[in-house]
Structure formats: structure tokens, C-alpha cells
Symmetry: C2
Subunit: 317 residues, 2 copies
């Protein structure tokens, strides 16, 4: 029998789960070669700026495997609708039976994405954080700020966006989390003041240029998840002391790293996976002057881990 779980009970279950630890465990398994992840499925709906991504895979020793369907239809807000939808499906690795359907409406994807940003900051950001800089004004701008609270005490935050009203609205939401928030019109000023910068936009042109980035900065680039999107100038990857990825296999095809590789601004040898750093933190940041980058395109292991954690809790109930 397939169990179907609705959004309210999923969000309730999520509250008691240490999502950051769960996602970190997943990155470790990935970097240890314990996870089978087929290529991402993709379908585009250019007329309405929409996309479907199918991410799926299995940890080899697990009982279950997970398929995640996520849509992003970016004109939806004009219709008063959430841009994101989707679901996660849990199957038995032993029998192929569909055991659970999580009607998560894109929320688990949002949370596992934000948790990956917190994992990156935990292992790569400098010790002293006086300011967090958030680039972008959407769902992830808010959720990245929320999850960073679990890995840093810093409550000073600047936010930059192209649209003034959206920036003020995001600032207001983040303020309600307990941050002292300053909307900043000048992206260079935000970069100059922040030790952690999180880019969350769907930009296809670099926003952050080399001259904006000071020593001692960590950048988590999570907005670019396709081969077209790009938020960080390739020169920044060239000078960075550490260029980490959630998955190297995926990063060479999608996101900032793929862009920098294409123009020979980044060596493949320089890349390291977050999971490898978690397993061996000496491969992470070693002093407060380094520039570090974590390029996150979102990997099926995150979907597997969050779906497993939520399903386990819901089944107990």
C-alpha cells in the first residue's frame, strides 16, 4: 500500500529534523562513492519560463530509493501562484514497490537547498562573521538566511536585488527572523562588507565581479543550476583558494564551475566536493584570508536524504 503524505504533515515533520546534519551525511555518502545517481531529467516550457527537473538515485546499502520531480514556473507569481511545485516518491530497492508519495509542493526541495548552503558555510566560512550578504530576493534568499542562523551567530545581513519592492519585502521577512537587515543598492558595497555571500538569483550574466570580492570571503552560489545560468564571474573562481561543489560530476555540466571551465578559468583538479571536506575538514578553509566558493546545483542525494528523514518520521507517527 502506498502512503500519501500532504504538505502540512510534511512541514510539521520537518520541524523536528536536523536537516543540515541530514544533508551533510548525504554529501559524505556521495563523496564516498556510495550513491548511484543517473543523469538529471529535464523538460523546458519556454513559453511560460517553466522547467521540470527529475532528480533521482539510491544509496546502495539503503532499503529505499527516491525520485524527486520539481517544477519551477517563474511567471507564476504574476498569477498569484507559487513558482515551485512537485513531489517526492519513495520506492523499495528490494521490490520496486512505491511506498510513499510526499506531496511536498517543492518545499522539501527548498529546505534541502537551503540546508546545503548552511553546510557549505559551516565548513568554508571564516570564523569571524560580521555580515552576511544575500543576493536575490526570492524563496531561497529567505530560506538561506533562516538556515544560516543554525551555523553562525551573526545577525547582521545585507540584501541586494534588482527590484526595489521585492528587496524590501524580502528584507522585511528576514528581519522577522531576528536579523538586523539593510537593503543595499550597491552590490559591491554588500560584497565588501560580507564574510558570507549567498547568491540565489536565476541570472545568466555574472553579478559578482572579481574586484568586488575581498580576501576572507566565502561565497555560496546556489542560484545557477543549469548550463546557462551564471552569477559569479569566472575570474573569481580562478583566484579562489577553494572551489567546492556539491557534486563534481554535476558541477562540470551545470552552474558556475561549468561556466568557468568553459573559459579555462578553473582547473578540474582544483575542484573538491563538500562531502570530501566534511570527511576531512583540513581540506576546507585553513585561514581567514582565503577566498572560498561553494557552487551548489542541487543533487539527488539531498532529495534522497530529506525524503528518507521525513518519511521515517511520518511512518512512526
Amino acid at each position: 500500500m502506498t502512503e500519501v503524505f500532504k504538505i502540512n504533515e510534511i512541514l510539521e515533520a520537518l520541524e523536528g529534523i536536523d536537516v543540515i546534519a541530514v544533508i551533510a551525511e548525504g554529501f559524505k555518502a556521495l563523496s564516498q562513492g556510495k550513491v548511484d545517481i543517473p543523469p538529471i531529467g529535464e523538460m523546458l516550457f519556454p513559453k511560460v519560463n517553466g522547467e521540470l527537473h527529475i532528480k533521482y538515485g539510491a544509496i546502495e546499502s539503503d532499503d529505499d530509493f527516491v525520485v524527486k520531480l520539481a517544477t519551477g514556473f517563474f511567471e507564476n507569481p504574476k498569477l498569484g501562484l507559487n513558482p515551485f511545485s512537485g513531489c517526492m516518491l519513495v520506492f523499495s530497492q528490494k521490490t520496486g514497490q512505491l511506498s510513499s508519495v510526499l506531496l511536498e509542493e517543492g518545499e522539501l526541495t527548498n529546505h534541502r537547498t537551503a540546508a546545503a548552503g548552511a553546510v557549505a558555510a559551516k565548513y568554508l566560512a571564516p570564523k569571524e562573521i560580521d555580515m552576511i550578504g544575500i543576493v536575490g530576493t526570492g524563496v531561497q534568499a529567505r530560506l538561506q538566511a533562516l538556515y544560516l542562523q543554525r551555523v553562525t551567530d551573526c545577525r547582521n545581513l545585507m540584501i541586494w536585488g534588482r527590484d526595489k519592492d521585492k528587496t524590501l519585502s524580502a528584507a522585511e521577512d528576514i528581519r522577522s527572523m531576528g536579523y538586523d537587515v539593510k537593503p543595499e543598492k550597491n552590490l559591491a558595497a554588500l560584497c565588501g562588507a560580507s564574510q558570507i555571500i549567498v547568491t540565489t538569483t536565476p541570472s545568466t550574466e555574472p553579478l559578482i565581479e572579481l574586484e568586488m570580492v575581498r580576501p576572507g570571503t566565502h561565497i555560496t552560489a546556489m542560484g545557477s543550476d543549469t548550463s546557462e545560468k551564471c552569477e559569479i564571474a569566472p575570474d573569481v573562481l580562478k583566484v579562489a583558494d577553494i572551489v567546492a561543489a556539491d557534486s563534481i560530476d554535476q558541477a562540470v555540466k551545470r552552474g558556475e564551475i561549468s561556466q568557468a571551465l568553459r573559459v579555462n578559468k578553473c582547473d578540474r583538479d582544483k575542484l573538491i566536493e563538500l562531502g570530501s571536506i566534511i570527511l576531512n575538514p583540513s581540506m576546507g578553509r585553513v585561514n581567514d584570508n582565503q577566498i572560498t566558493i561553494a557552487d551548489l546545483s542541487g543533487v539527488a542525494i539531498q532529495d534522497i536524504m530529506i525524503a528518507k528523514a521525513v518519511t521515517k518520521k511520518l511512518r512512526k507517527k
Copy 2:
């Protein structure tokens, strides 16, 4: 709000639907270039002889698109379980919202597959059918026989399988549909007597050799749906007057046609799609001496069509 439909109501809705006509319409749209179908997603679980297929796509002018997840875990019967599971998901093409989940447990896949066999027989089989030959003893052996009743009056049927007990059990089930059924130990005798042969096995070695096939035979090969599986000797494709496929794009990668192409026993130019024959029946069988083959690997358009038809009916209710 996502609506979730369970297996019982899905099977009930299916009863009033002309699945063969629905699938034929889908093949037409496919051959007219109106359907966007990304590559099939696939994950294998070799330890338990299991596989996951993800088939998905959209008819460009439709409101919805469909993603189908189908598992086949072929050791399941030893555990007393159905080898097939899965579900179909209906999303809006305008907003990406997940509108319906069909918990069909692989049944809609089974029905759309059998309906495609009936479409092939309708357009390619000779006029006079004295005998139907079924090769294999599984779910499709039964369902192909059931759906053929809707396109031919012939009620004489031979069945061949490697396992005696399974052959007798399938024969019994097919007899209950109103067929006069003869289990046949000699595959050559079955081929010699039948004007429609349907192969439904997961064989990886040819079962039907050139010398078994007489003029005036139509073969529907639906068992082989991967690049490894093969039921028909490539020489049969070489001599066949018509070699049709559900999808040429897919057939060159999977199934009998891919095998014959690999050993230069079939020209790509010779291939024709079922949809093209439905649109222009003069491209189908023109006399009762031709040998015709329909190689079916199962296309997302079938999943789209059956999911649409069932969902439309269930929503009305």
C-alpha cells in the same frame, strides 16, 4: 490542490474508455511531430533484477504534461508480489502545478502497452486471421490477448512459454476470455499456424528465427524494450516488407530494430512509425502475403494519452 486517485477507481474509470482509440490518437500526434519527449530516465537494480523507467513528455497544445514512473522487479513473483509498480503524475503545462497523482501500480502501463499491440494488429495484420500466437506467459501475454479481441474476431490462440506450469496457467486465464487456447511446446509450429504473433518475453536471445516465419504473418514484438533484449532474429527484420515502430527515435536505441540496425540487417530508411500508417493506411499492409513487424518499446505518448483519458473521467466524477 493535488488530487490522488487510487488503483480501484482508476481501473473502474478505464472500463468505459476506448484505450485503443486513445493510444492510436497519441501515435498520430507523435508522428506529426506534436509531442515533446525527453530521453527515458533509467535506473537498474541488478542484485534483484529490477529496473526503473521514467517516461515523460507533453503534447505541445495540451493543458497538461505527464510523468510516468514504472518499476519492474522480476524476482517479485517469488515473494508473492506483483513485478510491476509505479504511478503517473499529471502537471499543468501553464503553471507546473501537480494536479493529479494516479496510483496505478503499473496497471495503466500494462493497459497502454497492450492497446499499442492492438493498434499494430489493426493496421498491419492480414484480413483473415485463423490463429493468434502468443509467445510468453506473463501479464502481457494475457493482456495482449484481451485487447486483440477488440480488433479481430479470431478466437483461436496458441501459447508458448519456457515454463510448463506458467504456460498452462496463462492458457487457462486466456481461455476464460473466450479463446480456444492450445498450449504449444514447439515455437516453430506456433509461428507456422499464426497470422498474428505477439512476443512478450524479456529474452536477450532471438526466439523467432527466419525459417519459422511464413508469408502473411504479422509480428508484434513488445517484450524487448532495452538495448539488450531481443526476441526476433535480425534476419526476420531484413526480409520483412514493413518494419514499423511506435517511435523511430526510440527504436534505433532500444528493442528489435536497434539489434537489427547494429548488425546491418535493417535500413533506417525502411522504418515507419505506427502513427504515419494510421494517418495514411496505404503505407501499411497492402496484401495478405506480406510479412510485417511492429516493434514496440513503449513511448511516453502512450502514458500521456492514458493518463489524460483516465484523469478526465475521474475529475468529472
